[in-house]
Symmetry: C2
Subunit: 257 residues, 2 copies
């Protein structure tokens, strides 16, 4: 089975031009078909502030009213996505920017307003992802680059967590490929001690994940990322990595298996 690599890059890296350029160079050097999923939350929050709109979060997830949806669409699908595409074209990677609405690639369902009304936020069913379309892009040597937007098939865009977008796409593609999912962010990996970047946990299995959670080693912002990762592993994805964006292409970071 051929290998497909799905890489998620966080908003903190996307917002720093030099780090982004270095990351994209490493991304282009990955062998075989690949998919990039990017965030942009930091820039979206900045743009909301500039426009006098409030950023409302609940447990690290953005509450998206219509005005916020407009701004995140502008930032994610407009500036961030298209800037990445232009940069990739420069360095020889023929890429195509996508929201989940484009070619109906990632349809979603608007989240129930109970118990928390997140507004225009979409949850993805990996089985609905348009795998055939993505395969046709690979067939033409085109690399898809997703922003974290989906749609409800009823005329509305939906904001979707970029980690979930990446894991859903990885799950959907795992019937066709040996699938590696790599979360790149601004830390070295999952750390024993959050204040010590040298304390990377090299390997986490389902069984020691439970024990690390019980001991309180893994907490807060890392929990949804880890839950996404293990959900992906249980649903067909072969390997998941959590690592610093600058370590894409080497074996540093945390492997989840």
């Amino acid at each position: 089975m051929k290998t497909l690599t799905i890489i998620k890059i966080g908003g903190n890296i996307v917002d720093r031009p030099e780090e982004l350029d270095l990351f994209l160079e490493k991304f282009v050097n990955i062998d075989g078909p690949k998919i990039l999923v990017h965030g942009g939350g930091v820039m979206a929050s900045e743009m909301l502030t500039k426009l006098g709109l409030k950023t409302e979060m609940h447990q690290g997830r953005r509450i998206t009213d219509l005005e916020t949806l407009k701004v995140v669409s502008m930032v994610y699908a407009g500036w961030v996505n298209k800037s990445i595409i232009a940069k990739l074209q420069k360095i020889g990677c023929n890429s195509l920017g996508l929201s989940g609405a484009d070619a109906n690639s990632v349809p979603a369902v608007k989240r129930s307003p109970e118990p928390i009304d997140f507004g225009y936020v979409g949850d993805v069913d990996p089985q609905k992802i348009n795998v055939g379309f993505l395969l046709s892009l690979f067939g033409r040597g085109i690399t898809p680059v997703f922003c974290p937007l989906t749609h409800d098939s009823d005329g509305s865009l939906l904001n979707t967590n970029a980690d979930t977008m990446a894991s859903s796409i990885a799950i959907a593609m795992s019937g066709e490929y040996y699938t590696k999912l790599i979360y790149c962010f601004e830390k070295e990996g999952v750390l024993y001690d959050v204040n010590d970047s040298d304390s990377v946990i090299p390997l986490i299995t389902k069984s020691n994940y439970t024990s690390l959670k019980e001991k309180g080693v893994i907490q807060d912002g890392m929990l949804p990322k880890m839950d996404n990762a293990f959900y992906a592993l249980e649903n067909g994805v072969s390997e998941v990595y959590i690592k610093h964006a600058s370590n894409l292409g080497n074996d540093k970071g945390t492997l989840l298996k």
Copy 2:
């Protein structure tokens, strides 16, 4: 030879949700393969104002510095393009939003800063347009929807006049199809008397265009649109129409031949 229809919709329509919805219904009903090119200049100017940036124009064309490029990318490729895609998906048209950077579909050359420095503005050579990629989309039943952005293949997006974008794509596709180019905007067509919407000129040929210009009937904002149209006709496009967006699908408006 099969017919391909390329339709350009102006920023004034894109900005009015009800008119846009009506237009998109008509667009979807056009038989055969089709391509939509949209503007968004009105909304871009509004967003520039909200962000405290100035809109600088020269002879009706926007001067695009880096901050302006960021805003037009957000508005054109983000909110406008993705909103249209979500709406088209709702009404059964499987569409894909594109800038010229995506899949290197429309590469461009940054305009010389002499005699006027327009900044990040790109001119398109129709012969460089990625016809094969667009044909592959038609082959999968996908309708491309372009925002007026291109790229310089050196890492930068470029702002491109939407009328020119539409005519360039029409010229590029005219080797493969009998090509109809339709400019939809907020007027009934080319008018004998700009104050009388009933005075539509039904047919303009190259020879009476010259005479209409000499008489001063056609002037100002209509001139670049007409020049684009005749350039397209001279370079392979079979028919060009200028009409009100609400008349898409009927025979009202001006035909250029």
